[in-house]
Symmetry: C2
């Protein structure tokens, strides 16, 4: 009988063959593209003189955090205090919480982490939050490093202009428990007719604001930081930070998250943009995450139902059938899914439209590998994902901490 900790969907039942021993559906990460992506993005950051703090919210898998740090990452970015705790408890020492820290229960978590030796940064964008943090951490006799967020009009969080940034810098300056460590931004909410130009402009506004804070003597941390970048426009951010020649004084930190397993939708599209802008970046990121499920019903011509639902895979876009295998068969015998199209996703079922000529070839139990977009919303469906080699043998079970 299995472990009782969870429903353990997608775990090997006494063997390591994905096409035979694993209870499907299961989420799978392919070893080779994972290793490629880890090295690729670290090389990219290094080449731009930037540190890499991959966004950990994507996977919340400590085994991946360890691989990212081993590949050279400066730290791990996280979105919440609870995520920071999970990462620290599992071995990540430097935590960039790229978000406002609100609520005393959450401040308590971060306070505990500081006492336990974590190196934590978080983000502020209001005087009210600065005062609350200042009061809380002073009462505990702790000092918290903060970054001021510069956002954009109509965007998400963040100060809306440089005056607000400087005023907030001064508010931090009078809170003994807070250490201003630099500037933070997120270009993923920049929109407009020409998003590429808008992102470039925003990157340079970040540079100017960071310089202004620094020149006003408001940055107390020994190593001032400037940090931005999601998974779509990281090349533009990295270029601006490199071209600003901050090296001597302000350290640039990039925070892409989805690169680790890439995807088959939004980010594959975004990566095409990166490679079009930067043709020298050969052999870009490769999709590494798939969900394997089985055909459970062939109820009428042209329709197959698979054991795959919103409980198993991201549903921002409908999943893509990629390949097919026979249950218990060899991973070398790849069957076609040409013309297959997912038309609907329910909680536990996928509806697949089949081209006419395939009906004879498909069987109940056939195993289909699906790709998805975006990866964050596939990871969070799973308590473990299976790392597999090129023979689809399970090498490791990667636990997630959502």
């Amino acid at each position: 009988m299995a472990r009782a900790g969870c429903c353990d969907k997608g775990t090997p039942e006494g063997g390591d063959a994905l096409l035979m021993d694993v209870s499907l559906p299961a989420a799978v990460i392919h070893e080779a593209p994972l290793a490629h992506n880890l090295a690729w993005m670290q090389r990219f950051a290094d080449a731009h003189g930037a540190r890499l703090a991959p966004h950990g919210k994507t996977s919340m898998a400590p085994a991946l955090f360890r691989r990212q740090v081993a590949a050279g990452a400066w730290g791990i970015t996280l979105a919440t205090a609870a995520q920071c705790r999970a990462a620290f408890v599992h071995g990540t020492r430097r935590l960039l919480m790229a978000n406002q820290l609100v609520g005393e229960a959450n401040m308590a978590i971060i306070g505990d982490l500081l006492e336990a030796g974590a190196d934590v940064y978080c983000v502020v964008d209001s005087g009210a939050n600065v005062r609350h943090l200042g009061r809380y951490f002073a009462a505990r006799g702790l000092r918290l490093k903060v970054l001021i967020e510069l956002g954009i009009e109509g965007g998400r969080c963040g100060c809306r202009d440089h005056d607000q940034v400087l005023a907030l810098g001064e508010a931090i300056d009078v809170e003994p428990a807070l250490v201003l460590a630099g500037l933070e931004g997120y270009e993923g909410v920049v929109h407009g007719d020409d998003p590429e130009s808008a992102v470039r402009d925003y990157a340079w506004q970040l540079v100017e604001a960071a310089r202004a804070l620094d020149q006003d003597g408001l940055i107390e941390a020994e190593t001032p930081l400037i940090t931005a970048s999601g998974s779509a426009w990281y090349d533009l951010i990295a270029e601006a930070f490199r071209d600003a020649r901050l090296d001597g004084r302000i350290v640039a930190v990039l925070r892409p998250g989805c690169y680790v397993v890439h995807d088959h939708g939004l980010y594959r599209e975004a990566q095409r943009g990166v490679l079009a802008r930067r043709p020298e970046l050969q052999q870009g990121l490769e999709p590494a995450l798939e969900v394997f499920a089985q055909i459970q019903s062939l109820p009428e011509p042209g329709l197959a139902i698979a054991t795959l639902g919103k409980r198993d895979i991201a549903a921002d876009q409908l999943p893509l059938p990629l390949r097919r295998y026979r249950e218990g068969g060899s991973p070398d015998q790849v069957l076609s899914v040409e013309g297959w199209r997912v038309t609907k996703l329910m909680d536990q079922h996928a509806f697949i439209h089949l081209p006419d000529e395939i009906d004879d070839d498909i069987r109940i139990g056939d195993i289909v590998a699906f790709g998805a977009s975006h990866p964050c919303l596939t990871f969070d469906k799973w308590r473990q994902l299976l790392l597999v080699d090129e023979r689809l043998r399970v090498r490791e079970s990667l636990v997630t901490l959502f």
Copy 2:
């Protein structure tokens, strides 16, 4: 320092006051409406002479399964073999897997459950699956109870007509390891200009098919079953099964899942339909599930950002702000959210449009209760949900087993 099993978002940090001690965001179930819903649906089933096997996939929370069984449920419905295992390991003995059982790794799970004493039913709709199940369970010296699924043209799984049902009944009859136990359907995929009539028609088709199987002597189980019903049209199914006067011979089993916490969207709408059709069912289901999150940023007039995202709450429809409290304040001091509207949900952030006049009243850290639709996709974001009393004190942490 907290337990290291997961990121433990939404857990009390050394106290039981939701508005002070709990790391937000947190998913909350209110005690009183939960108890009301549990009793309401059991009473509904009893009044129709039907058994209740609530769909457990909704919550995957064994503490709720136990309450459902204690309230009188006949068993728990589940969607996958892994879910059946999780439910059985945590105390549910009768498991209705309302889905096809495919894949030998999944058959192995069900085989283990049978050996451990579980009473399992699963669903078949193809000769290929019947033969595979027959071979597998014969080899293990076990007998598996199966229900034939009758679907609809253009629907999901299931036979498409009575001839297919009877042919499949005969295919089961020649598999010594399989015990035909009755008929299964799911009216949630019935559509059309007049869905109410279409669901009634479908319910009567199920009745006729079950009777035909029984009259042909194909149902081997001592207690033949007929089962259908999701959370939207259960009243029509229950009526048809009652009016068919099956009592003497075939037992009707209803399988709504979402009723347990109801919702603030799709199912609230559906419940209005039920109450319009059946005005004697006074005081219908009540929404019991909410997600509490905090205002983290007030970056420009008319815009608030809350610590609530697709990682925390169902996103089929945008969440509804319901009430607001001051952090650390009293649960009696409810602040207005009139005119508040969530306009966008990212992974970890909600964008809230505020009416003009409220800007003075709102503070960073304010706690907002959000409602959502549908509940299955909120439950699966959480490893535990907090059961709270009317004073918002945490009474119990309900673990989920996704």
